[in-house]
Symmetry: C2
Subunit: 416 residues, 2 copies
């Protein structure tokens, strides 16, 4: 079966909107015509649905050995010789594949499953985004914390791919997941990290210990109240996920964990305090950390807003830290006071929305460090009342990668 439609885009300087209209109109005109040459689009019949593919994209994604390296799974065609205005001699579709013969007699063959998986229909693109690219995040209020913070078992994560997948899926969705029954040794965290890949090293090391330290270079190493914050906002490549293994928990009243979903707070502000929301997304402040650790000096500065949006307007990162906001304010002086008002409001709301709980020895609290704010109430630091955590960071690049590998293995996707 041959199904072809064509669009002749004669005006090279059309805007995207015009182009879109041209596409729509031209398709109407040629809806049932079959024009084998100079086509910009090819229509393929997939299980009764007619799906449209751009010719240039098809040519670029030819899967033959000349164009695609099989073991590297990578495109190897030479871009210098690539013809954006490629045209088609013929399209032949059988039960399982489509064969396109190009104007230079090069032949490309595409499996129908492969094409279906790469559909340009917006609903198919959205499905792919949610199932493979990145799971959708679900914001939460602290009162629902016990519902969203699923409990996972250390040994099961190590030995079951399904358990590992479930844990990472929860972490991606809610930004928090608790691992229980962790062996009481300093290296237990490594086993979990290795199931994903490796840690993100920072100037505080490959891993870090959180306990009371005199004359510290970081306020996290004090026993006093630790206001809610994200770790290391002064890194452009801010650690994605924070894993805190509780080895010893204080027996006194204090030392409780606080967690707030910055995405929930941002969404609440957007709806109820749009002016302050705009200030926190627009105004960049300077995050800072200057000191010496393990004998190495560091002088980190990074400018960013408190709420960072991606180009689609979704929150991609939250920055917040009272101690690690620098004393330089890089913006216009007239924005300073309104910014401080919005900043205080953001913190107040996070406190209102926060969950409070206390991890136990054997717990690894895992949370999205560029989404959640975390803190800790003060505790009494005495020789018989200590608290010790071992922490490590892992970046989202590695976590999403492991999630996709597991997804492809546990729930094979046709045409991947």
């Amino acid at each position: 079966m041959i199904l072809l439609r064509s669009l002749r885009d004669t005006n090279k300087k059309v805007t995207l909107l015009n182009l879109f209209q041209t596409v729509v109109q031209t398709n109407k005109l040629h809806l049932n015509s079959v024009l084998p040459n100079k086509d910009d689009f090819v229509n393929i019949n997939l299980q009764g649905n007619s799906l449209k593919y751009p010719s240039v994209w098809l040519r670029d994604n030819c899967q033959c050995e000349q164009c695609f390296h099989q073991s590297a799974k990578s495109r190897i065609l030479n871009l210098c010789k690539f013809n954006v205005n490629v045209s088609i001699k013929s399209v032949v579709q059988d039960e399982t594949s489509v064969q396109v013969t190009w104007d230079d007699d090069h032949v490309s063959r595409y499996a129908l499953n492969w094409l279906k998986f790469r559909s340009f229909m917006p609903e198919d693109q959205l499905k792919y985004t949610k199932t493979l690219y990145r799971p959708v995040k679900t914001p939460w209020h602290g009162k629902d914390f016990h519902k969203v913070c699923a409990k996972h078992d250390y040994e099961r994560i190590l030995y079951s791919e399904a358990a590992l997948y479930k844990w990472l899926q929860d972490l991606s969705t809610y930004g928090v997941a608790l691992i229980q029954n962790t062996p009481n040794c300093d290296t237990a965290l490594d086993g979990i990290v290795e199931k994903i890949g490796f840690t993100k090293r920072t100037h505080y090391g490959v891993k870090f210990i959180v306990e009371n330290v005199a004359n510290t270079s970081n306020v996290a190493y004090l026993s006093s109240n630790l206001q809610m914050h994200v770790d290391l906002p002064y890194y452009e490549y801010c650690p994605g996920v924070n894993m805190l293994h509780c080895l010893v928990q204080t027996l006194s009243e204090g030392g409780e964990n606080l967690l707030s979903d910055g995405h929930h707070t941002a969404s609440y502000m957007k709806n109820n305090y749009p002016d302050q929301y705009k200030l926190l997304t627009d105004i960049e402040v300077e995050w800072s950390d200057v000191g010496v650790e393990h004998g190495n000096e560091f002088f980190k500065l990074y400018r960013s807003s408190v709420i960072c949006l991606d180009r689609h307007g979704y929150v991609k990162r939250i920055n917040f830290s009272v101690p690690q906001r620098g004393s330089h304010f890089p913006g216009p002086i007239e924005t300073v006071k309104p910014w401080y008002e919005a900043h205080s409001l953001f913190y107040e709301l996070n406190q209102k929305f926060a969950a409070q709980f206390k991890t136990e020895a054997g717990d690894i609290l895992v949370f999205d460090n560029i989404r959640l704010l975390h803190g800790r109430s003060a505790y009494e630091d005495k020789s018989d009342n200590v608290r010790k955590l071992i922490g490590a960071y892992v970046d989202w690049d590695e976590i999403y990668s492991r999630l996709r590998c597991l997804k492809a293995k546990l729930n094979p996707l046709e045409g991947i």
Copy 2:
């Protein structure tokens, strides 16, 4: 001497523009008035210049031991008790400092140098940005490559802080710098990396070897022509700087390095092909790498435009790689062909603007991986004609940090 001016911002819902106008107008009205209470701004006389500081910012940056932790060099004031509408009882300035007494009788003292360094005057903010935050980047055309690519000596970088500083400053400015006279051993690169901090680990390892490998998982490990690209664009945290230590260079004609400054090309396109420039900044494509390395599976995907702009409209990252652009196109179908046209143009221009040269054994070619495109011409891979590079990545977070530490040491900045 007491110098005070006030601004009463009675309308809390003003927009930023209105606010700015209010500031300007109110300042005109109160230009010579001295109102000691409820001030939003404090004016300080610094060497004959009157510099204005927001009261709320001054209170937030109180340097006393209650508000600022001296060894952690961090703000420790309690945000819950922080009053954004703080007002002032008195301001007393002497030869070296300013003392502010707040309405709750808290007293803050600021060194004049400290204040001057944190001036809110736009020209002072710009100077601070250029001297301490990040050096300005200078785009270049390949014909000027021999002028911009400074040659640095391996031993001098190891033993002279001034040489280390010069090298990193060149790298930040031009995105490329060559290190010569490197010892011929596999670990020589480590010495250079340790002068900065540590490498960025990826799924290819802490370091990587570039030589011809059969059945590779990456096309860089082939001897064929390697089209210009950036490394690992499928990482959201794409490696900042690429260091390639040439241990053995091929004796045949091929194996030449190609380097092009993506910032120069972007700027050229912005001026000469604004429509195509806009497409490359607006349309996100999917970068991809799927495979197995050292026994570990990876499945990396990241969506981003070819030219990524920051919120000020400056280029912050370039993504380009024929083999590592995925086969999924996440955007609207009608943008596909215009995008391919712009993409081909971008590559054509980079080829036109590229520098061509050949590193020698003992060279470490260091370049900004999120700015420059790099490539290599084909070479004949035979037993007597091999080529071997050892590579490592280091992120800009660590490089800028080291640059600032060195800057503060070599050219102390007053008030830092």
